[in-house]
Subunit: 219 residues, 2 copies
């Protein structure tokens, strides 16, 4: 499924990075920031920052830069995060458990509101204070708990069937952590975290380091 | 740390995607493939595929496309994966356990050769058949087990100190799964899997779906 929106995917990914940077600057009490400073912290150039923001309006003031809390709020609104998002995790194995206990979600507005597992033996037990529900209660519970985003943390062979179930109960946004690609229909957004792909990029880096000519600084 | 190599980072990421596609096609017994077919499966255009491959030589034959096993081998070599890579995991909590048991690594040439944890109580116990070692044996064991890539799977507050330890023992490639950024020196490659950032992109998608004008198909 290709990217389905008018704003480029790379821009949206960078907005998430800019938001992280602005939160940090706000926490440090910084009142304003120049696009060149955001650019430096995000490892892009200043023209890219200005272009990315220009899709959504004119936020900066010439010579004064951006007001940090104001731009942070704008970015939160653009990313749909003003009121937080309710997330469910499918799969209560090691990966699901790690996600439910992951401390990076809550401070950035993502609330885990349910965990589902196909193993009936796990139903009713708790994970970090959250009850584990059986998969056959998905249709009943998703609207009740206001689940908006689902994270697939099941083994590869089960991933497509879980994705189908999620789409059937009206989940429109899926983060797939299973080690396989899943097919989803138009009108549903799915992102995959491919950890092996990341290792492959690192393997390329390792080869490039070792093939750099003797005495030449790898920069 | 900005990207330190001549080949664009996005190209290397796409090579990893192309490699996954070629492995699948090879498994299906497909002898040749056109750049337009690879492009379709990778959600890019055919010119992009040809440009990405052109950094490394001239692999295709006009009108005939690419020989699947040959191009798969080329990509494996370019990504430094011809002989596999030895990986260590730092952190034997839920996330570390999920990684050590992750079935996506081994078929793509990544061998987990060690797990380290700072908790002395975990030392000596086993995870999926692998012994857990104490962190203070890192310097002794990394060269002995031939570790090339390290995955950081520790809580945020411990991540920078672990990264420093890894760099100190000569690890040049790090995959950071902790929910924080870590600083590393030039000559070391570090990639971060930011799961919250992925959820932020999905939150944008969700907002865009719900703001699409009534009756207009979101494509």
């Amino acid at each position: 499924m290709p990217w389905q929106f008018d704003i480029p995917e790379a821009t949206v990914q960078r907005l998430s990075t800019y938001l992280t940077i602005l939160r940090r600057l706000e926490g440090q009490g910084m009142p304003t920031v120049a696009s060149s400073d955001i650019a430096h912290l995000a490892n892009v150039n200043a023209a890219q920052v200005r272009k990315d923001l220009s899709y959504f309006g004119d936020f900066g003031r010439r010579g004064l830069g951006y007001r940090v809390p104001e731009l942070r709020e704008h970015l939160q609104r653009i990313l749909g995060l003003s009121e937080g998002r309710n997330v469910i995790v499918i799969g209560a194995g090691n990966l699901g458990s790690a996600l439910v206990g992951y401390p990076g979600f809550e401070p950035r507005g993502f609330h885990v509101v349910g965990i589902f597992d196909s193993d009936p033996a796990k139903s009713g037990s708790k994970l970090y204070g959250h009850e584990i529900f059986p998969m056959d209660r998905l249709a009943e519970l998703v609207p009740r708990i206001g689940a908006e985003i689902a994270i697939i943390a099941v083994p590869g062979p089960a991933a497509q069937s879980v994705a189908n179930d999620l789409v059937a109960v009206g989940i429109a946004c899926i983060l797939n952590l299973a080690p396989v690609h899943v097919n989803i229909p138009a009108g549903v957004a799915c992102r995959r975290v491919d950890m092996t792909g990341q290792l492959e990029v690192l393997s390329f880096c390792l080869s490039s380091f070792s093939s750099a000519p003797e005495g030449e600084q790898v920069q």
